[in-house]
Symmetry: C2
């Protein structure tokens, strides 16, 4: 019986943890620099909080937790006989695992409304669970890294979130394209062709422009019930080109008759001008076909793609005007961003961009030559640890070959040897595992050599 | 409909997160200094991994996850009619939430045996879930912070784990008593009175010595089937006193006829001598009545109590010789320690020991005087952030009173004002919120003032 874990879940080894923590710490550091504070919510939420928030399909993808004790009490026997597992599940289970961080955040804001000072800026880095069919790059347990501000409709928030995105990827050394759109511009398109009720159909179709090309998008628009005339009216919009400035101007003149469309263009102008005045490493792109989370976003829409790796969106976000309405607190505007840690991990792996610090902890391993030498080593280690150097001693006085095999396996950059003669001098022979160079040093000297060399990388 | 969370679970606000992260980061830093590397395992494990590992009571306290889709398929209708929810649950659910970090760690070691280099030193800081009845200080979701080394029976590991405990609490400024015992000493007691099969009864009874006193312990020993003679034989052991050294000597002479008992004393000598040679802040105590996790530990037993707060054990651990046997990998010895984050949190609160850095993120809030001033402020903020200062701007040009109420609520130590005249000079008026002092400064000067003042605390 070889033990295993549920499909779609993962163990993270020390080497993987070091890389993941490098990503999380980078994101966390930048969030903090912008005044976002962490919160955490429970893994389990009441199903009444989760159900109905992610569509019918989403309800099925919730992991539900069987009630403790006599879970059949109160279950409708008729449902059991009918095999109506959907409705039965709601009777057997009161709790479910969180599906994302957005709904728990909305629930948090409403539940703690009296303790919160608005605007409320929070970030949250926690796992979420989805009973999706597992496949390459899609897991049933994965982390989300979200930052949101609620209670302010100022576009300065958008500017700061874009700065955060830019700074995170600058630190990670991933070159990105930062795509922007605005839901109001999409609403403008629908107004322009006299079909405001068709906004979803239009955007779902033109969202595929990159993937399927203009001809297929037009075919889909016709399929979705637009007239030939309406499709033609949209053509100049889909053909917009030029610099960001030129495209905004073209958009404004095409949407001249749509108040909401012009408002969207105006917001895009303000946000892009704001970030460009502050300077941006990322390539900024206006993408009128961008429509992620359309049922949800009401203003700015943000999507980030890696420039050097073919992979889907690695970060996304936008403004929503009614996050908490479903919990009885209407009219609270917010804007947020969500980093896709798993895809960022894949991008860093593909580009081999991990720095030296994203590796396992130990900086120096002491060889164990026996009880007396081990005791002397441990006294030296105590001193070096107090200087911030991570040390370990091989716990048994095993054969040198075995100890060195361990040192290589855990990839320690330094090995220290304290034999009889070193012990007599209160020193160690410190060996740099990369260069093979060896020095006879006091503990404080060794600590300083190690700290300096590891900071250089 | 006011939303809520499942009973026994908690939301953590930014202020609580700052305090919790202070604890976790302290523990993590010390683990790393001793060469322990992090791993993470999934929240969900197969129920086959979890069931039967925590006793019958424990099986009931596992949160079980309803199978996705048609969960009734394969369920025995007879069990439904009989209302046999225990056996039915195993048919409706394949997965459960982890109950502790020890069993997942054992599963990890066996599953990844071919990738691991022994000895394997890992730490793990993750939440666990138990369907316990919630009460004060007992939650259904809580964090465990475990460090273990497997694949080495060297007592140097014990010495290092005790150093880790000492260093963590030294950094947290919590004065502790570090209690030690050894399962082999307990086995020696049972041998001494000619009742080796009574070891559990003896230890369960004498474990209560602190709480119920000698007289009641003796009564319980009789109740549990020991003879008057056997109870009398135990009396000198329970009365051992003096210095650590004296008590070890007394123990050795009382256990002179028990080979396993003497081995236990020898191990205690080696461990205590090892840590004392290196110097210890904690008060070290030999406690022959200490018997936590007896079904589990086979050598050293460790327990930590706070000296200045009446609360249960705040950390515990010990050596086990067969962690992975249940998963088909026998004979792997290990030793570990587990920090009780929730109780440590309570102790720090009780003693008010949180340092200044354990607070919310923002170091300076810029007042928003309008679009032009905000743009100038944001340029200054960009510069200050690049120097590591956490900044935010109030997103709307709201009334001063409202903006200052926000600054007070999030407890920012500094507020910066960039009005027309400051803007003209490229400076800000930086106000220290504690002292009320105000200075006119360039951004780089302000960053330096803020960094220096916050490091002083």
């Amino acid at each position: 019986m070889k033990p295993s874990i549920p499909k779609g879940t993962r163990d993270f080894s020390p080497a993987e943890m070091a890389r993941r923590n490098y990503i999380f710490n980078t994101i966390r550091d930048v969030f903090a620099l912008y005044g976002y504070n962490p919160i955490e919510t429970p893994a389990m939420e009441n199903l009444s909080t989760l159900m109905g928030k992610y569509g019918e399909e989403g309800d099925k993808l919730l992991f539900k937790i069987l009630n403790s004790g006599d879970f059949l009490r109160g279950a409708d026997k008729g449902l059991i006989e009918a095999g109506d597992t959907n409705r039965l599940a709601a009777q057997l289970c009161e709790k479910g695992l969180r599906y994302d961080l957005t709904v728990p955040f909305a629930r948090y804001v409403v539940q703690h409304r009296n303790e919160l000072q608005l605007p409320f800026k929070r970030y949250q880095i926690q796992p979420v669970w989805r009973a999706d069919r597992p496949q390459k790059g899609r897991y049933r347990e994965f982390y989300q890294c979200d930052a949101d501000v609620v209670g302010s409709d100022s576009l300065l928030n958008e500017v700061e979130l874009l700065q955060i995105v830019d700074e995170v990827f600058r630190r990670l050394k991933i070159r990105i394209i930062l795509k922007l759109n605005n839901r109001k511009v999409l609403a403008g398109f629908a107004e322009l062709i006299g079909a405001p009720d068709k906004i979803i159909d239009i955007t779902v179709a033109i969202d595929k422009l990159d993937k399927i090309g203009l001809e297929n998008v037009n075919a889909e628009l016709l399929e979705r019930g637009l007239s030939q005339q309406q499709v033609e009216t949209l053509q100049p919009i889909l053909a917009i080109s030029g610099t960001l400035e030129e495209r905004l101007d073209a958009l404004a003149s095409l949407l001249a008759t749509s108040e909401v469309g012009l408002k969207g263009v105006e917001e895009l102008r303000e946000v892009t001008a704001g970030v460009m005045a502050l300077g941006l490493d990322a390539e900024l792109d206006l993408d009128v076909s961008l429509a992620r989370g359309l049922n949800y976003y009401t203003g700015t829409i943000i999507e980030v793609k890696a420039r050097d790796v073919q992979i889907g969106s690695i970060t996304g976000g936008g403004r929503y005007d009614n996050l908490t309405g479903v919990f009885g607190m209407p009219g609270l505007s917010g804007v947020g961003i969500s980093f896709g840690a798993d895809r960022i991990y894949d991008v860093l792996n593909a580009l081999d961009l991990y720095p030296a610090e994203a590796r396992t902890a130990t900086q120096v391993m002491f060889v164990n030559f026996g009880a007396a030498e081990a005791a002397a080593s441990m006294a030296m280690m105590k001193q070096m640890r107090s200087m911030g150097v991570s040390c370990e001693i091989y716990p048994d006085a095993a054969k040198m070959k075995k100890q060195m095999a361990y040192a290589n396996a855990v990839a320690v950059p330094y090995v220290a040897m304290v034999g009889e003669s070193e012990m007599a001098q209160g020193k160690m022979a410190l060996k740099n595992m990369a260069s093979g160079e060896q020095q006879l040093l006091f503990p404080a000297e060794a600590a300083s050599v190690i700290s300096k060399s590891l900071f250089k990388n």
